[in-house]
Amino acid sequence: MKPTFYERIGESVHREVLPNGLQVCVVPKPGYAKQYAFFATRYGGMDTRFCLDGRWLDTPAGIAHYLEHKMFDTKEGNALQELAKNGAEPNAFTSNAMTGYYFDSTAHFAENLEILLSFVSIPYFTEESVAKEQGIIGQEIRMIEDNPDWQIYTRMMQSLYGVSTARTPIAGTVESISHITAQTLYDCHKAFYTPSNMILTVVGDVEPERIVELARRVLPREAGPVIPRDYGTEPEAVAQQESCLTMEVSTPQFLTGFKCRPAADGEDYLRMAVLGDMACDLLLGDSSPLYLRLYDQGLINTSFGGAFEMMPGVAYLYAGGDSRDGRAVAEEIQKEARRLADEGFDEDFYQQVRRAAFGSNLRGLNSFENIAVSLTEGYFHGYDPFRFPQVFDSITQEDVRAFLRENITPERAVLSRIEPKEA
């Protein structure tokens, strides 16, 4: 394995691409008791339409997540239990563009890793076991549907995006998942769970060479084809400006989103991610003039926060929380973006926020999961996430102002609100 040392953050990553196309990354962490493995495929909630063996398939919303649940089934029983028997804490998640399976353990690491690699690469479904999962996932969907944070976010995404499958809820709906069969699950597994579409990351006090040997031994030899995907051609304009839902909540909530120009893969992708985060902190972070003013006016409280997110073909900045007047806060954000784009930042403030952002990125490296997910996203989008200190250095005030000028505008804005139900 080829090691790279990152002096400014005190980490090293050992990388190798196996003959079957699988990328393997190992991040040694001496002194830690826990070992963490993360095995991920570039396949998530937005990959519903794709071409397999020359045929375009339209699959039901929620299928990647459904597949994630069913992958734990093995011919012998259930991998979740196999791992739990060894004291490992296994789990998995599906995001818009990725499905990741992971565990952490403090004993039997090699054995656990072998279980992980096997169950994720060998599908085993029956019509009966697939049908049985409807009840479990149906309750998962009911649970999130009752969650105001999920509702307000999903509605914001559906306002921002009219075509892109970024608007599709990851778990689907109780109706959409009712169309899922064992055969559709096998098709999706065949298309996306191939070594060349996946990455294995291990973090902990381990020997990198042993990880590679194990992966070479356990995983299939065939790389798998490149699968064309169709996310839809998203127009520049937002789908709708506003949505509002009434729920059993105590106070009104809001989320305002801005449809930003997406970045191409490669280091530009990382640069855009860092730039978007910086813009977000400078515009509305805890120490920004806007945050302090709105907090003093009682228009926002500590629930207020924002973030910048990217996924294939999609980038957006959003912010929200509880507020008696979310619309006013959303308008203030637009006005402040305009002012900052025109007037620029106070240099001390700019440097202070840059320092804080560096510290916060560094803090993220305490989390094994965060390290693994960053390396995985970096691999899928063709950049090296541990180069963030260099990328920070390359960003100027003028870059941030240009970002705000272009992206944080009334035409690109949407507002999603939740109002309490009248008693």
Binding site: R8, A33, G87, M143, S250, T251, T302, A356, G359, L362
Partner: protein, 422 residues
């Protein structure tokens, strides 16, 4: 993992855990005070008001600027319930000095700011700044009311409220809306004086600095902390078992029902109950997971928690309204099997490994360490994770079944939808 615990002043203790592997250091200062209906919301409000400004950095802008310049150090206020105590204070996280690009020392300035937040708040005419008090009181009320937004948390907390009504353990960490509404500026300031003088103060550090340096920084930061009539730590009283099961049902406009069940435990063999609960509903290998979820497909989650500091078990699940009886029966059936010892060896060893893994991995997270050692100190316990792990290793099946036989249903809470309500 070496733990050093030293006393710095009357009722002031420092727990010191050296570690070089993290990117950050974690510092914490927590007052430990009995959880009481009358004072809970005042104590919850206090750190929020203190976090608004100190004499040297009198508003949030100046505080944020100071923290940003220290490479994004964070100081967050915390309000936690540990046993029948309430712990309020601040947790600070700062990047390790070795990563400060200019080679600056960050521990001393962050500790100093932590001390200022507690000992040197900005005041106006001998009280907290009225505008800060008012806005944080509004925020506290919003936070108490917003508990209803997350129905799972809401149901879990309603179960505890009903089960432990009249006991401190039933009080929410933020107190009640009614008491929060009555909070007054001058009273809060007086209470603040009392708290910092007489409550136990638990200080915590995890990071790469030497003990002497940390001790020196803490002594200097808390040099002006008053100390008088320092109280002892209150230990939680056991929950008195009910003769008849207490049943509560509520309805709301929701799509999923929430079932909560509370159990009293007659045994004080905590290691055996911890194992028993893990077998019952504490892991993805548990009886509840394998049967209520995997076999009967009744839910997405059904899990149970053993409250070591109070000696009770609570169970929480989200189900279809109509499946109430089915789920309820199955949960009790599974408890019965654990009590009868109808378990296989792999289940026992799986539960044991799950707990041992959690104890072994605790040293890898500064946040978990801080929370664990605060919980120990606030409930008068001294075992380290290694000692607790050893206790788990020694538990025999016979002890588990004996302890679990003393577990009995105490309270049932069900939240159902409006249409489905009778």
């Amino acid at each position: 993992m070496e733990v050093t615990r030293i006393q710095l002043a009357d009722g002031v203790y420092l727990t010191y855990l050296p570690a070089r592997k993290f990117k950050t250091s974690l510092l914490s200062a927590q007052f430990v005070t009995p959880l009481q209906e009358e004072t809970a919301s005042a104590w919850a409000l206090l750190p929020a008001v203190l976090r608004r400004g100190t004499v040297s950095a009198p508003d949030m802008g100046q505080l944020s600027a100071r923290l940003d310049r220290l490479y994004g150090a964070r100081i967050d206020y915390t309000v936690r319930k540990k046993g029948e105590n309430q712990c309020v204070g601040f947790v600070a996280s700062l990047i390790d000095d070795s990563f400060a690009p200019g080679g600056e020392h960050l521990l001393e300035p962050v500790t100093e700011l932590l001390g200022e937040l507690i000992c040197d708040p900005v005041t106006e005419r001998g009280r907290f700044v009225p505008a800060y008090f008012d806005s944080e009181k509004t925020n506290l009320l919003d936070a108490i009311r917003s508990l209803i937004n997350d129905k799972r948390d809401y149901a879990d907390s309603r179960l505890l409220q009903e089960m432990c009504a009249g006991e401190p353990y039933g009080i929410s960490r933020l107190g009640s809306e009614a008491t929060a509404e009555k909070l007054q500026l001058h009273k809060l300031y007086a209470l603040y004086g009392q708290l910092i003088a007489s409550a136990r103060l638990e200080l915590f550090y995890s990071g790469s600095a030497e003990l002497e340096r940390v001790e020196q920084a803490m002594r200097s930061a808390f040099a002006t902390l008053p100390r008088e009539n320092v109280g002892e730590i209150i230990l939680a009283k056991p929950h008195p078992a009910r003769e008849e099961v207490h049943r509560v049902e509520e309805s709301m406009d929701v799509t999923q029902g929430k079932l909560g069940m509370g159990f009293s435990c007659g045994s004080d063999d905590t290691a055996a109950l911890l194992m028993g609960n893990t077998l019952f509903g504490g892991s993805s290998n548990s009886r509840l997971f394998l049967n209520v979820r995997e076999k009967l497909s009744l839910c997405y989650y059904a899990s149970s928690v053993y409250h070591r500091q109070k000696g009770i078990i609570t169970m929480s699940s989200g189900i279809e309204f109509d499946n109430f009886q089915k789920a309820y029966d199955e949960i009790l059936t599974q408890l019965g099997e654990v009590q009868a010892g109808a378990l296989e060896d792999w289940e026992l060893e799986g539960a044991r490994s799950t707990l041992l893994n959690a104890y072994a991995a605790m040293g890898d997270s500064q946040g978990k360490l801080e929370n664990f050692f605060l919980g120990q100190a606030a409930t008068g316990q001294v075992e380290t994770p290694a000692v607790l792990a050893q206790q788990v290793r020694e538990v025999t099946p016979a002890r588990i079944f004996e302890a679990m036989k003393t577990v009995s249903l105490d309270t049932v809470y069900f939240l159902r939808g409006k249409e489905a309500a009778q």
